[in-house]
Amino acid sequence: MTADAGRLNRATAAFGAAAAMVILFNTVLACVKDAYAPLLRFMNSIAGHNWTTQGLADLVLFFGLGLVLMRTGWTDKIHGQSLASWLAAAVVLAGVGLAAWYLLF
């Protein structure tokens, strides 16, 4: 594979990394708000329901983080194959983590 064949443009790399981070953040937030009532109440107070607040937080973080990462040189180091693996790992962790949390706790 040539160097170009493994390269991603900045937006792809930045928003891909942001997506992986937000998926993990979303999983952690779901568990933490469930375990910590003050956080749940706080999230309920922001948008009327904690689920709505969580969705808005995810979207803001995804687009915000993606835009910030685009402006850094860090994304130039990300290889496409690695990013695909991060995303797959994040989704598997999210699915298993959420199911385990609601099954066990």
């Binding site: 493994g6 390269r7 937006a11 792809t12 891909g16 998926i23 689920w51 969705g55 995303l87 989704v91």
Partner: protein, 440 residues
């Protein structure tokens, strides 16, 4: 090549006024109430036909006498390519996201027996549409109107005027608009109205190059009053440049007052309506809850199928199908966004009653495990679906990594989408077995 820009005369407001008509009204929705519309509309002249659809509109009663408004439209243009109008209306058809509309409606004079209500509905049109392709203006533009309204029993009349303002938008010119409408309730299910609507010349970059006054006829059919309605309107020029206007949409509203009027808890209003309609012998009884839930599931499946399409096309990515891959990715993102909005509305407004039923039944895990996991895992699917068009915009021919990334993201959308659909089926079955075993 000159391109006409998308500049639909769309105005939005409460269910009793505004859509589907072009004239708006000063009446904001009630405090802490919401309105959601999904609609398609078209405005055509001999120069060009512009349409929006599907478009999503949300209004929120953020404060007493104030509501906030947003429309996110998909837009399409069909230039006539008629040499008589050159350089306007030239170029190929185009489709994509249009300019997003945000607005604030403010009522500053209340209606009394002898005095109309008066207010304004200032709009900010964000330049999200591609101006080079004719899908947007290319810079932020504004609508600044003043509206008044008065009701007399089943009759309502409203109207007003304003100015559309452009800044740094070559080919567009500021223009005035004005309209007046009369409508009447015809029984409990139907409201019909007619309006006269005028706009000035909007500039050589628009289809409305000359002024026109249209006569429009339209109304609402109330599946459920006021919760769920069909909106329709059609109009044609009476004076000025030949122009056609059409609107077709669905409307939902909900909020605290509606709960109190229809029942003390979520879902109880629906139950009362279902019971009454059963008594009247109506066999097919589709409520807002049913329509929203089915819409949620249908758009979820559409998003999953669109991701499958992207996967299949990306396996053999080449110059000929890159555009199709990108359109498929955009369709997946839009479908998942619609599924999320509809799912959110249903989850917050209607699910609490079903949840109580499930928890009392023999399958409480349908909520405790499947719904809890589904409602949070969906955000992962949504983020991935939103990311798919970004990844698909990369160089899919020259970069193997970009193509593999698109394939991976598409597979993840498909897998999580199917898992969520499966969880939905389990939740539905949890409610069903609770009902069948007499836990309602």
């Amino acid at each position: 090549m000159s391109r006409s820009g998308l500049l639909l005369c769309l105005w939005s407001a409460a269910a009793w006024a505004g859509p589907p008509f072009q004239t708006d009204d000063p009446e904001p929705i009630d405090f802490r109430h919401f309105e959601f519309y999904t609609f398609a509309s078209s405005d055509g002249t001999p120069v060009e036909t512009d349409a929006e659809g599907p478009a999503l509109e949300l209004n929120w009663g953020a404060l007493p006498n104030v509501h906030l408004h947003i429309i996110v439209p998909a837009a399409v243009i069909f230039p006539s390519n008629d040499p008589r109008f050159a350089p306007s209306g030239a170029g190929p058809p185009a489709y994509g996201i249009g300019d997003i509309e945000m607005g604030i409606k403010l009522r500053f004079v209340q209606e009394t027996k002898h005095r109309p209500m008066i207010g304004t509905f200032t709009m900010f049109e964000l330049p999200t549409g591609n101006a080079a392709r004719g899908l947007g203006v290319g810079s932020t533009w504004y609508k600044v109107p003043l509206w008044i309204q008065k009701s007399f029993g089943p009759w309502t009349t409203y109207g007003g005027a304003g100015e559309t303002v452009f800044r740094n938008a070559p080919g567009y010119r500021n223009f005035p608009f004005a309209g007046w409408l009369v409508q009447r309730d015809l029984g409990k299910k139907v409201t019909l109205g007619t309006e006269a609507f005028y706009h000035g010349p909007e500039g050589p970059a628009t289809p409305q190059t000359r002024p026109a006054t249209l006569i429009d006829v339209g109304g609402y059919y109330k599946f459920r009053d006021p919760g769920f309605q069909l909106l329709f309107c059609y109009g044609h020029t009476a004076v000025g440049q030949k122009e056609n206007y059409a609107y077709l949409g669905l409307y939902w509203t909900w909020g605290k007052e509606g709960d109190q009027r229809q029942g003390s808890g979520p879902g109880q209003g629906d139950a009362a309506i279902r019971s009454a309609e059963r008594d009247r012998g109506i066999v097919m009884n589709v409520t807002a809850s049913d329509a929203i839930l089915l819409g949620h599931a249908a758009f979820g499946i559409l998003g999953t199928l669109a991701a499958l399409y992207v996967f299949a096309e990306a396996l053999n990515a080449r110059a000929e199908n890159v555009a199709r891959i990108r359109r498929g990715a955009l369709a997946a993102a839009i479908s998942m966004c619609v599924a999320c909005v509809l799912g959110g509305i249903w989850y917050l407004r209607f699910y609490p009653a079903e949840k109580a039923l499930i928890l009392k039944g023999p399958w409480p895990m349908a909520h405790n495990l499947f719904m809890e996991t589904k409602e949070h895992l969906f955000f992962a699917t949504l983020i991935l679906a939103l990311y798919l068009p970004i990844a698909a915009a990369d160089d899919l021919i020259g970069s193997v990594a970009a193509r593999r990334l698109v394939l991976t993201v598409a597979v993840l959308v498909i897998c999580t989408g199917l898992a969520i659909e499966g969880a939905g089926a389990v939740i539905d079955h949890g409610a069903k077995v609770a009902l069948l075993r007499g836990h309602s």
